[in-house]
């Protein structure tokens, strides 16, 4: 491995971490959604600094080419993020469905109340004019 690629790996991992942490800081990303990105960034940084770890880990799980372990872990992380997004979407849909139903119920109630109190208001206006 050349020094350039070593530095490039570390920089890429640092950049990812900085972006994620900055978005967390600005509250543009919630912790629960950032956790997988943080784990991925930290893993990339550790492996970037100590490439020997990757070879050791690849040997440990029996992966011939260490780079394949990187691909495997990357895809696994993306997969988990996708599943998390799908469940969040489902939850949001359920919530917006409930809200839509409540809005419709409240809307109907307000209209019925307005209809019931409309003549009364008319009398009040007359009363004030006298």
């Amino acid at each position: 491995m050349t020094l350039t690629s070593y530095i490039f790996g570390i920089c890429a991992a640092l950049l990812t971490l900085i972006v994620v942490i900055d978005m967390l800081r600005r509250r543009r990303l919630r912790e629960r959604h950032a956790v997988w990105w943080l784990i991925a960034g930290i893993l990339a940084l550790v492996v970037g600094i100590f490439p020997g770890l990757l070879e050791w880990a690849a040997k440990l799980v029996g992966v011939g080419l260490p780079v394949n372990l990187v691909f495997f872990v990357s895809i696994a992380v993306l997969f988990l993020v996708c599943i998390q997004h799908s469940t969040e979407l489902t939850k949001l849909e359920t919530q917006s469905r409930t809200l839509a139903e409540e809005v419709a119920l409240l809307d109907l109630r307000v209209r019925e109340l307005e209809a019931a109190t409309a003549p009364q208001q008319g009398e009040d206006v007359d009363g004030q004019s006298h």
Partner: protein
């Protein structure tokens, strides 16, 4: 039975039905004097809500389209909030004859959920080919789940008793086919007694049932997926909602 009518809410889920719904509401109010009639406007882009209100129905307008399941859960919630014991679902396109409703309500005496079935000897409704086989197959499985003989599980004409209304107000599913297949499974697994009575149907005003084998296969596939998930889901939490 006017006493029963006054505690019954007829819910018509409607999506862009301005042409048919006025007549349907008029017929419901005339045939079933004293019932509450709630139209759930499921995000229509036409004058459905206006026509329905003019015809004398209460109209709840959903801000966007939720499907029949969402519209019906709203109906069940409304019934619960306003003290109606029974909810009858009728399609807004006029394919259901409101004269069937008294028979459905009578059957609620010994049941919690009554389905108005199209193939049970009344009317001249018929479906042929693969779609019919799909419906037959579904009926077989759902009959086992519900512990009674059901021949038409996808009927939109249904009456729910107090127990089913409480259950459905919290758990009526919004997914595709959820309002027919999954709702039945939820009710049966929550201990509701399901019954079927024959009901006559009219020719649908808009659209015709599909007879294409590919569409039928797709329908069966989606129905089977919906059914499989309905069966493996944990039963609806009935503890607090269902206890009288």
């Amino acid at each position: 039975m006017p006493a029963e009518f006054s505690s019954t809410l007829v819910v018509l889920p409607a999506l862009n039905e301005e042409e048919a719904i006025g007549a349907v509401i008029a017929e419901v109010l005339e045939t079933l004097p004293g019932v509450g009639c709630l139209v759930v406007d499921d995000g229509s882009s036409d004058a459905t809500a206006l026509v329905a209100a003019r015809a004398g129905a209460r109209v709840a307008q959903l801000p966007f389209n939720l499907g029949v399941g969402g519209a019906m859960r709203l109906g069940f919630k409304y019934a619960l909030e306003h003290g109606f014991d029974n909810v009858v679902q009728i399609d807004a396109d006029g394919q259901h004859d409101p004269r069937n409703v008294p028979r459905l309500l009578e059957a609620l005496d010994g049941a919690d959920l009554v389905i108005g079935a199209r193939f049970a000897g009344e009317g001249d409704y018929s479906v042929r080919g693969p779609r019919r086989w799909a419906m037959w197959f579904l009926a077989k499985i759902l009959s086992r789940t519900a512990g009674t003989t059901l021949t038409d599980t996808t009927s939109g004409l249904k009456a729910s008793g107090p127990k089913a209304v409480r259950l459905f107000a919290a758990h009526y599913p919004a997914e595709y086919l959820g309002d027919t297949i999954e709702a039945l499974v939820i009710a049966a697994r929550a201990g509701c007694v399901v019954r079927q009575v024959p009901a006559s149907m009219r020719v649908r005003q808009g659209g015709t049932p599909s007879h294409s084998p590919i569409k039928a296969a797709l329908y069966l596939g989606r129905a089977m997926v919906a059914l499989a998930f309905a069966l493996i889901r944990p039963p609806a939490a009935t503890g607090s909602e269902v206890t009288p």
